[in-house]
Symmetry: C2
Subunit: 553 residues, 2 copies
């Protein structure tokens, strides 16, 4: 490959929210940006997490020089353990990002083998032929960066996830000037965050949430419980600050909340005024108006702290009349019903619940349309690749760029695995790398595929009927059964009639069959299955999975 | 029971969106308002629809005098067939409502046995001791009514679902004056729609959608496909009117779209200007800029017309470059991902897709907070019952009423089955009627309960392992198997190693067992199950359902 060409290959994150991973390749050098997971969609039954297919990286193992992570969200770091287990190369990131990664690698028993290299905004690191500059961005997690990558073919800017927050909680602004420098110097390609392209205008500052907290804390005379993402350190900081103002003490709850806050505090990203932090034990002795609990479970996850409180199943915290619960997070699509259930239960226990629809206690971490435009206008790239979005978001972001006079032919809407090939004055899609979604179920990676999922769906929707028949091979006489076992079909104890009916159908069928065909197990199985299927479809309009088992006696 | 008392018993619709059904009882007379279904939530695996438990009505069968239906949406009429099969009493409704009911009863082969009685706004009908006045409301379906019910204990107003639309498409305004009359005359109880209590201000008029359509149709030079609810006759009328203006012809697609439109047209609720309506065949001959297709599938339902178009699986309609698709409907919570997938696929086929988030092509049919306030202020009831909402909506609606000086003790937040007892100057919750959610799966009503659902969930998430062992009773020798059959666990063809491992574990276990315990099938089953469970949990972190089957040989 010509050294002055550049390949950009998204292995995830274009065509979905999450799964973010982009490969940059020039000559024999490969740099990977982000290694994120995606949470399973509802039809991915039993799947715990989804990770990108990294076959391309494994096949080019010796070329991979490093992985740089833009920030510490799961959709950017969650696939790292799986990737590092295959390809052990240095991981670059800012202090908090590395803190969160380190915790994750410990869980996977990979931390001792891994090399984590700390980078800072405006620092330039050399990774093979790539000069990578870290550029401060603002987002719903602290210490996030975008990247300015100088390659033999030209400069590339990768925004990571970003918003342009003029009043971030830690005062660390998005480095508008540096993005502008890349515009001045001339940039070949911009890859930019598409998540919120459906939202007009500007995102609200994280600071606004603090203002809303202040008003609520000032008006509340009983306990306050705040549920938010454990990674949203700024949000937690604002709770701490407002708690201090109103002489409340902060109790952290939930494993990830406690871990992440500890890491952030150790690294200096989370600061407690004196006497604000306290332990769970004080919950029972402090007066109600001096308590704030910060907890996980803002997405209605069934095993989370907040869900347990709502179900009155939490070991330490009983929700009581007069408690105020703040859900300070977005309702992620797909989770609305679960979140709604938690809210309803909290109300039933006498709590007052505030959430995004009725209160200003959440702002998005992603750029809205005006901010996306500003980024494009700052960097003024020759080519534009919308990333981090479902296909429709990429299309809308592409159109937005077109509206800013990026020529349509210079905008590439890529899908996972597309190999985009650039020289300093050309761009083309030049093939396809292996790409896709790999399902992780427990410790199994990729062993659950479409057939298993199809069976799970079938089993889940309609249940299973096992038909056991013992046949004497020589005479074709039925000597045991038919015995019918079902799960997820009807409640057997209350459906004796149905069970008897199924049995008689099998008996009648076997009675009618010729001896020769009865000696062919495969024929018997087919006939039994289709007779039961037909009957159940007609009588009950259901389609359980039917498994006939013939035992040769 | 004292004739001057009134019982109000919601059998559904308080604590959930959908399942609407309210019982009014005075002396020995029972009047039922609405008989709606609810669509299953994601954990109700394999359930087709959910209907209210009507045990209370069946137990008081001889008292039930009639059912009045406020409008023709599924969450108000969908449980009628199940109710009428148990209790055949007259059904009252306006013409379009009865038209839709009639169609539904035909499907259930109940139409000949049923008595449908047509009512009109401002008409008063006597049903036992109840004088029921129909009061025109506006909503996302035409011909909806609220009810003014005069009972021995006092007057009751039931809003049904409503919004206050000042410019409805058919010019038929909500009868503000008549609701006000009930305020003037004195009303004991108001039951009012809580659905949109989280939304500030006023709902937009349906007419606004027409304006948005006009702009889009005026700008579009290729085919237009509009997906909306088949029951939203006003929406369809607006498509027809704008189509006529821009010289396009309208093709209806999807079974319910064709049926509902036919009924509405026959009853005079849907009107076509000359030469606007045309048949599917003309799709192939008309120029692109003369075509509008109106179709179902706005919720991303996998078998719907729009989904089929998106998947290129529609018999007649192929989506092509330049098509404009309008999703003119709300994204119902829980459906966002399915809808998102359809939109993404349509974009991949080159269509332009407009939807609620990016275009003003949908308005809600439910009152926002200011309209809800107006309703309360018009009727000025002594007692207030928020209905039609999840628990949190009822709480917020109760607070809204409190803000309008309805005393807190006069507001009843009921849950399904609560018996609210009223006299002319008292109200109390006086017990509980049997109530709940009954699952309909195919033709089975109520035979799928929590145990079956739990099994379905288990099967769906983790799959099943069947272990077949043939044992000779007298010697306890294993003569056949162990044979392992799995579904939804791992893909057997690619997981021979796992299968062999499971088999060896069973063989080892049986080898270690004493002869006596091996002769106890129940002991063998328990041991096999727990050995496999332990192994799979440890090695794979999975929990498949395990069914050991011992065959006595």
């Amino acid at each position: 490959m010509d050294d002055a060409t550049l390949l950009i290959i998204p292995l995830g994150g274009v065509g979905e929210i999450g799964l973010n991973m982009t490969v940059f390749q020039s000559g024999d050098d490969i740099l990977v940006v982000d290694a994120g997971l995606m949470f399973p969609e509802e039809e991915m039954l039993g799947v715990d997490v989804v990770i990108p297919d990294i076959t391309y990286l494994i096949e080019n193992r010796e070329k991979v020089l490093g992985i740089i992570i833009t920030h510490g969200h799961e959709d950017h770091i969650g696939a790292l353990p799986y990737l590092l287990r295959e390809i052990n190369v240095p991981v670059y990131g800012t202090p908090l990002t590395l803190g969160l990664i380190s915790e994750k690698l410990k869980e996977h028993e990979l931390n001792e083998k891994s090399t984590l290299i700390c980078v800072r905004p405006r620092e330039i690191i050399q990774i093979g032929v790539f000069s990578v500059e870290c550029i401060r961005i603002t987002h719903s997690i602290v210490d996030g960066i975008g990247l300015g990558i100088t390659t033999p073919a030209g400069r590339v800017v990768h925004t990571g996830d970003f918003k342009i927050d003029q009043t971030p909680v830690d005062g660390e602004l998005l480095d508008i000037h540096r993005f502008g420098d890349y515009g001045e110097m001339g940039t070949l390609v911009l890859l930019s965050d598409s998540t919120n392209v459906e939202k007009e205008g500007y995102s609200l500052s994280e600071r606004e949430v603090g203002t809303a907290f202040d008003k609520i804390f000032g008006d509340t005379k009983k306990r306050i419980i705040v549920a938010t993402f454990a990674s949203n350190i700024h949000r937690i900081q604002q709770v701490i600050d407002v708690a201090a103002k109103y002489k409340r003490k902060v109790i952290l709850n939930g494993r990830s909340m406690i871990n992440n806050s500890r890491i952030a505090e150790e690294l200096g990203y989370l600061r407690y005024p004196p006497d604000v932090k306290t332990a769970m034990e004080d919950l029972y002795t402090l007066p109600d108006d001096e308590i704030v609990i910060v907890t996980t479970g803002s997405q209605g996850e069934p095993m989370s702290s907040l869900s347990r409180m709502a179900m009155d199943d939490h070991k330490q915290i009983k929700v009581k009349e007069g408690d105020t619960v703040l859900l300070s997070a977005r309702f992620i699509p797909g989770n609305e019903r679960a979140i709604g259930r938690v809210i309803n239960h909290l109300f039933r226990r006498g709590a007052n619940v505030l959430y995004e629809q009725v209160s200003d206690i959440h702002v998005s971490g992603h750029a809205c349309r005006e901010e996306q435009k500003m980024m494009i206008n700052l960097v003024r790239p020759k080519y534009f690749i919308p990333i981090h979005g479902e296909y429709r978001h990429l299309v809308y972001h592409a159109r937005l760029a077109e509206g800013l006079n990026i020529p349509k032919e210079n905008i590439l809407i890529l899908e996972d695995g597309d190999i985009a090939k650039f020289t300093k004055d050309s761009a083309a899609i030049a093939g396809k790398a292996g790409a896709g979604r790999v399902f992780v179920d427990g410790k199994g990676i990729g062993d659950v595929g479409s057939i298993v999922l199809r069976d799970r769906k079938h089993l889940g929707m309609d249940g299973i009927i096992i038909v056991l028949i013992g046949i004497e091979k020589s005479t074709a006489k039925v000597v045991t059964g038919p015995e019918i076992i079902t799960r997820g079909f009807v409640y057997e104890a209350e459906s004796q009639e149905v069970m008897d009916e199924l049995r008689s159908i099998v008996i009648a069928l076997l009675g009618e069959m010729e001896q020769e065909s009865k000696q062919e197990w495969i024929v018997v199985k087919e006939r039994v299955t289709s007779a039961l299927k037909r009957h159940i479809k007609k009588k009950m309009e259901r389609r359980p999975m039917i498994i006939p088992i013939i035992i040769e006696v």
